[in-house]
Symmetry: C2
Subunit: 510 residues, 2 copies
């Protein structure tokens, strides 16, 4: 594969973005019937031209730093709706002054030392796919985006113990490619898989594609190596330890605010040989919810247990019957358990869905962010929100999110779809997509208002502010309400110990 | 069930301890053939008579405190070998000055306030089954043992979401009894089950009886409520959250040094209806190890996968053939997976073991501590040591532990047996039992020397100092070597934030 240019303003590869004509076709075919749009397309942005950086890289490691406008612009934001729309409009008021691209752990140590002395903030950057403002600095200090993508060595593959030692800057596809000849897989497939890194997954506690069992990246971590401004922190490589509070847990989810994760030992597994799947159709959505609950509570562990509500089923799985869909998949030794799950579905009025309608789901899933960018260019406000709650809270939470989104949309019209990305014996992780007409120049304000209303609705109904998108800056107010003040104080004390000058990702975590 | 008196010096119920005649019978029948003992029995200790306490309970909550010698003596130690032998010899140089038995969370808040003012240390005490010096204060301050057993309310059983809200002082049997009418179980059965509490399990990250899957108490925690000297800390009740570092993880394994866990929401599950089990016999021990590895790496999740080495099989499962035993059990939806596991065993030379020989294992497992006490009274040094390591480290670790124990035993003779309590795709949790002749008055010194040698052997061979016995005071030197100094600093900073005067279980954790 040759090098393909990344989009600096939108998702993924620049050449996969829908062009103007494709945007217009999408509008005609898929949107006009149900969404009021005028069909105009926001033009692609000019290449950015930024003011001079406020920092001068240290001369002994000059080649580690980039100061050109394109590098800085492409590290200014993550890939949330509000990021894409701002970049499209050329709004880049606070880009990083420099981009640092270390090749070694020593480079990172040197960069942190230099930043401490220079009074610069340092924002660790994996693949930059944050949708919560995790890589966008909003303070007044000069700042450096610490791009980890050159720390991309897969250092060791341990077939005997099924583990891999990998540097933080390795992207999903490179890791899986290295594991494939060993017939191994990490089996962690976040939607951002192609464009996100191991370090990003660890720092944000990313959720995998699989619905149950070990799916969050946390479950695959044997050991971490972290560089803090005060020095390195390493955890021992053992299958499980009961020695004190889990040392990895302090850094998983710390979003670069406590240290820079540079390497990890991750558990891998044999690639599953068997697969069994079924798609079930449910006339009554809440019966489908009950089926999903009963499947996971029965001790079955489907690899996929993706429940699409009727609107999501129509838009994303091409369902024509207005019914909900439950996509079930079992893998490996569990393949034989599919039958039991299907039986549970039937007991809740589920019937076999038309074969093949969901076949394109995985590809559509991975392409969804490109489509999102096209919708943004068509003037729509389109974003996702996700949470987890107990089963008994779900019905009210679902209704409250729909109502809040519609009430906060300026036109009063918002399409809100819901699917379960993960299911647990004690509750689902619902994932909402919200689409509503925007107003040129007010897109961010419109979304922020909807986001606040929806987040309040989630919090009021017992949901967490994030199941797997992380907190970043956008979720901070709700995160701060969700955790105890004393726990926040304890994290702040840890931060002061590891990063006494507060240079790491300021504004995140504490 | 009427009230049965607990043993103040040894394990469990006083009336289940082996009497002198039973100790002698055990010596004649089971020990004489392979262990040099003289057959004399250390007499039971007199009821303790302690000096006056250095603390006077606050008058407004006087009825919450106990100051009598028996209460204080019974809270002086845990139940490790070194605890039992010291108690047997009447060695109680530093018992708690008072025992505090709060009935409410308010009592705990008041007790902590009072202790801060009085300069007293507070050692949280669940069931007192620590085998690592976790409940024994070794400093100079006056101290209070905070016995949580009156906070024993099962507040809420949530059938829909399969969870239970339970106070920290609830013992294993009471919890299971409350869940049974709902056909639910926590399915967490540490060996101490009968005499340990929910709070103790959480504070020490206890390991359950089950070999794979969710087995450590951590896996069952939805939410915690903790009282620190600075105030309460609560985590939200959600199935899973990606918001920041897992807030529960700071307190799980904190062993009472960061706060007093007072309540938890725990995940429960339906009682498994199906069970399938097999016992396999292996002429070559390392082939049995490979079979256990391959079973768990195949994605099978046996409830039991207890590998007994030949000596353990002989002593604990009555095996007559000098072969290793692998006890396999599958439950619930997984029962059908037994066949695949047995096939893996056959590929490694495993054959069906004689039916019934292992039938008494679970009872023997729960009775083992009483037998241990009898062996102590017969003058033996007898204790267990456990760890976890990767599969490729196991053979050398196993050999090193055996060699270290034998070299450190004064007679050069030590029986060392090994079983796997838990198996993970990346490694086993080996559990060693060490028995060697003691010398009256030198038992503790003999064990401490063996323990140090064995712990060094474990650390040198990539094992953790504890898989599920916790750190307490006995494991501190090795724990401090196992973790990064900066991580310890971060924990210390959290401790200073939550417990600024350092009253909680001083000597533990930091």
């Amino acid at each position: 594969m040759g090098y393909r240019e990344r989009s600096w303003w939108g998702w993924g590869h620049a050449d996969e973005a829908l062009d103007d004509a494709a945007c217009r076709r999408l509008a005609e075919r898929a949107l006009r019937p149900w969404m009021p749009i005028d069909g105009s397309v926001i033009p692609l942005p000019f290449d950015p031209l930024l003011g001079p950086p406020r920092l001068i890289p240290p001369s002994i490691m000059e080649e580690t730093f980039l100061a050109d406008s394109m590098s800085r612009a492409s590290h200014a934001y993550g890939k949330a709706f509000r990021d894409v729309v701002r970049a499209l409009h050329g709004e880049l008021p606070n880009p990083p002054d420099l981009v640092c691209m270390p090749r070694t752990v020593h480079d990172i140590v040197a960069a942190l030392d230099w930043a401490e002395a220079a009074g610069a903030a340092v924002v660790p950057y994996g693949g930059g796919t944050s949708v919560v403002g995790g890589v966008e600095y909003r303070g007044d200090r000069p700042w450096v985006s610490l791009d980890m993508s050159r720390l991309n060595r897969i250092a060791e593959i341990d077939d005997v113990n099924r583990a891999v030692r990998v540097q933080a800057g390795v992207f999903g596809p490179a890791l899986e490619e290295a594991l494939r000849p060993h017939d191994l897989t990490l089996r962690h497939l976040p939607q951002s898989f192609e464009f996100s890194t191991v370090g990003g997954w660890l720092a944000t506690r990313s959720g995998g594609h699989y619905a149950t069992g070990p799916t969050r990246i946390d479950a695959f971590v044997e050991a971490l190596r972290v560089i803090t401004p005060q020095g390195p922190v390493e955890s021992p490589r053992v299958p499980s330890s009961g020695a004190g509070p889990d040392p990895n847990a302090l850094f998983l989810g710390s979003e670069g605010a406590l240290g820079v994760i540079v390497e990890a030992w991750l558990r891998v597994q044999k690639r599953p040989s068997e697969r069994a799947s079924a798609a079930m159709s449910f006339p009554v959505y809440l019966e489908a919810v009950a089926a999903a609950k009963n499947i996971v509570q029965a001790g079955l562990r489907p690899a996929n247990c993706r429940l699409l509500d009727p609107v999501e089923a129509m838009l994303n799985a091409g369902a024509q019957d207005g019914q909900a869909r439950l996509m079930l998949g079992f893998e490996g030794a569990d393949a034989s358990l599919l039958l039991g799950a299907v039986e549970i579905c039937r007991a809740h009025g589920g019937t076999d869905a038309e074969k093949g309608e969901s076949r394109g789901f995985r590809e559509a899933f991975l392409k969804a962010p490109y489509t999102r960018d096209a919708l943004v260019r068509l003037g729509l406000v389109v974003e996702t929100v996700e949470t987890a709650c107990t089963w008994s809270r779900f019905e009210a939470l679902h209704a409250a999110v729909l109502a809040a989104a519609q009430a906060a949309a300026p036109t009063g019209v918002a399409v809100v779809t819901c699917r379960f990305t993960h299911v647990y014996p004690d509750g689902p992780a619902p994932y909402f997509t919200i689409i509503t007409p925007g107003r040129r120049g007010a897109e961010v304000a419109i979304w922020d208002e909807i986001k606040a209303a929806v987040s309040d609705a989630i919090a009021d109904n017992g949901g967490t502010i994030t199941h797997h998108h992380a907190v970043g800056r956008d979720h901070r107010p709700w995160y701060d309400n969700e955790r105890s003040p004393l726990y926040q104080d304890a994290l702040r004390a840890a931060k002061r110990t590891l990063d006494p000058r507060g240079i790491l990702n300021p504004g995140v975590l504490v």
